[in-house]
Amino acid sequence: MTEDEIRAAVLAALTGVAPDIEDETVDPATPFRDQFDFDSMDLLNFAIALHRSLGVEIPEIDYPKVASLEGCLGYLSGKLQDA
């Protein structure tokens, strides 16, 4: 899977959780909590959406690693390479 495909899947998961988010406005480095008022329920739904679309199961302990776009892309790239 290419970086672009992963990015598209992440943005789709993100906008699935919060439909009012616009892709181009996402700041890669800022945590979703600070940008979009994400809470633990949003993060859980985000993890569920990524599991569905990419097949990657994110353990709870790793949630902080996927809490921003930048972190999430890095984490998922590593996971998908390992798979």
């Binding site: 699935g16 919060a18 439909p19 009012d20 979009f36 008022d37 809470d39 633990s40 329920m41 859980l44 739904n45 993890a47 569920i48 599991h51 569905r52 199961e57 994110i58 353990p59 709870e60």
Partner: protein, 390 residues
Amino acid sequence: MPSLGSDMEAGTLVEWLVKPGDTVARGDIVAVVETQKGAIEIETFQAGVVDRLVVEPGTEVPVGTVIAHIRGEGEPAAPAPETPTPASEPVAPKAAKPRKPAEPTAPAAASRARVSPAARQRARDLGVDLETLTGTGADGAVTLVDVERAGAAAPAPVPAPAAKPTGDAAAAMRRAIAAAMARSKREIPHYYLATTIDLTRALDWLETENRRRPVAERLLYGALLIKAAALALKEVPELNGFWRDDAFVPGTGIHVGAAIALRRGGLVAPAIRDTDTRELGDVMAAFRDLVQRARTGRLRASELSDPTVTVTSLGENGVETVFPVIYPPQVAIVGFGSVVERPWSVDGTIESRRVISASLAADHRASDGHRGALYLRALDRLLQTPETLA
């Protein structure tokens, strides 16, 4: 036009989801109404055939106005009135009238496989046809996992775009909150109690539990708090219900209203019906569904009118203790703060434990501080044995 709370005076019919001649079952969603709490789906509480739609989309009518006639079996068709009339015959009850959980589907056939409420709800969300599933649960029951599996195999439904709230809608919600909270502070003699609860055992249990659960069935500690708050009410029932006409009216079930902050501002507190009798996984599924729909879609009228008590948590924002305001005519609200690490005495030694502040605001007309204290003690005790909450 059903009432969704004591602060609601009118609603605007947005669209009909049925037409004359349609057969409806009790609990079916028949219309969408715009209120100060946003767009809300209205269920019917009468089965039959839609005889006549009385109110046109775009019309604002007072609470209690007849908006449609539904003809029961054997009933003659209603005569056509000249104009919409104020209701002496509302299609839905005005308040938290006791009723069975709404199940907006046709009545189950005797031979139909059993389906848990959470699975049924999830199937609706994912657009999965339950009739096509083979249940893997006890006696062939269709489980949440069955639905999730079918949903993953099927193309994902396109989520309905969230309604972009207008400034007017946000202002209307603000006014509704203002009216309810001003009434609460004006009329309800609140008393406040708080305690600190060692949550370490509960969080350890939850971490272990979540490791064995599929991603889609993981639990948040918020669900544990909601379930514990509901069960503790069984021991102090005078905190569960309403203050009406100078008397306490007990709730006919324990339906926890879960306070949900909306991203655009404002909040709603829809009910998780029969919270005390549901399995924890079911409480979590219902909670998750309510949050999702409150933030991206629509809630149903009964969900907003049914709560018998409210639970609010502001812990994720770093708030240590909450001093909540009761939502009238309810008589209590339970608040939770952040989970924080604190030195804690355990069997004579000092340990670092994860603790949480639990607070109670209660109506002094309906209960006294002593009973409120017993409630918080019960809550603490229940959270020390998290496995019993499952």
